[in-house]
Amino acid sequence: MDEGLISKKDLLEQTGITYGQLYRWKRKKLIPDDWFVRKSTFTGQETFFPRDKMLERINRIKELKDTLSLDELANALSPKKKDINLSREDFIERNIVSSNAVAIYEEHFGELDTISFKSSLYIYLLDQSLETGEVGWEEGRQIIQTLHDHFPKLEEKSTSLIVLRKMGVVTVLLVTNSDDFYVDEKTKVAVLLDIDTELDKLLNSLVTGGF
């Protein structure tokens, strides 16, 4: 059996949640549909989940569910519904992103007064890419453009941002469910970011920043 997966039975046993809770959370989209992996076993079809992501998500839900209602929780966990606007100054001052990242974004889309959550995610991803030292200004613009054009289509899925560099030419990819991938030896993976993980980090820094 795949090591990265956990069966539903083991999951319920380990976390102490009930079928009712699991299905309710699925309904409320607290757990993405594509985490439900169906596989046939000797007892017929069984459902599996990506172990680490699922355990982390359930812990998070359990932590938050006493203070938030399920709908509020769904908002907190799903980037699409997140409806906050930050001011540009706050965003930079609180060290969430560097002013460089914001500058690239503004050069491309014009001056910002307030930043929607989605833009903030794009800028944050850009900033994380810049921090690797592997991408420069020009590549940054390419990243922003790709996110802006294509990320909304992939929102419900777990997506990774990948930047490849070959002989000075840069390719930006948005890939869903990328557990493993391989490139030829002349190609260098400059950036590899799991957007869900980055989103959690961004949320954390927003929360600690007092938003």
Binding site: Y23, R27, Q45
Partner: protein
């Protein structure tokens, strides 16, 4: 934006119209609407075809209605025949006639007293299914109360409290609608905290408290607290966790 006051759209006789935003939409004869409709009250008494989405507060379908897009309404009441190509979203949906959807349906409360065919999933807080139904996907609800009136099937059921029973007193008008009168439920997997079944054929049943009543044929039962099996039921294999 230009603000225009909303009007009613009433189609009588044989007529066609474009979509738009209205207070009341009523189709009495044979009507077709080309485009999306947004309104407070949607009512169809005749035969209607909507080439677009419907979004309304209250919708009543007495005749036969075909919706090419999504149907979203706080309240949907179907007394006639509804065919929905897209999704259905609702707070409360009451089906006394016949409804078919090609995609999944999602809402708060579904009350079935007729026939229903859902090609996708059915996700609600409470499902009271008293007619005959076919759900090709997952029936996911906190409370699932099924009272069998005809041959029904569902791929999987998941929820908190799941009860399936057979009703003793057939409702008269239902018998006309349902030809196959073998009152049983077929399912692949049924998972819930409390599962009480009657006249159900399933491959796997998992739950904390499981009660397998008369007429059931279950291949495998997995339970953690309690299992009761009726003498008139067949359980091939069961395991306590």
């Amino acid at each position: 934006m230009v603000q225009t006051s909303k009007r009613d759209l009433i189609l009588s006789g044989h007529s066609e119209s474009g979509g738009g935003s209205f207070i009341k939409v009523e189709i009495n004869g044979h009507g077709a609407i080309h485009g999306d409709v947004e309104c407070e009250n949607f009512k169809c008494n005749g035969s209607a075809k909507i080439h677009g989405d419907i979004s309304s507060r209250q919708a009543v379908i007495n005749g036969s209605t075909k919706v090419q897009g999504d149907f979203s309404s706080d309240e949907i009441k179907i007394y006639g025949d509804a065919a929905i190509e897209g999704h259905a979203f609702f707070q409360k949906m009451e089906i006394n006639g016949h409804a078919r959807t090609k995609q999944s349906i999602k809402g708060d409360h579904i009350l079935l007293a007729g026939m229903m065919k859902v090609a996708g999933d059915c996700e609600v807080e409470k499902a009271e299914l008293n007619g005959a139904f076919t759900i090709d996907g997952l029936l996911n609800a906190d409370q699932v109360e099924i009272s069998l009136h005809g041959k029904s099937s569902v791929k999987d059921i998941g929820g908190e409290v799941i009860t399936v029973k057979r009703n003793r007193h057939p409702i008269l008008h239902l018998d006309k609608l349902i030809k196959t009168l073998s009152k049983e439920l077929q399912a692949n997997v049924i998972e819930g905290d409390v599962v009480k079944l009657q006249y159900t054929k399933a491959k796997v049943v998992r739950g904390n408290t499981v009660e397998i009543g008369p007429g059931c044929e279950i291949e495998y039962v997995e339970y953690s607290t309690d299992l009761q099996v009726s003498e008139k039921a067949v359980v091939e294999k069961s395991e306590k966790l």
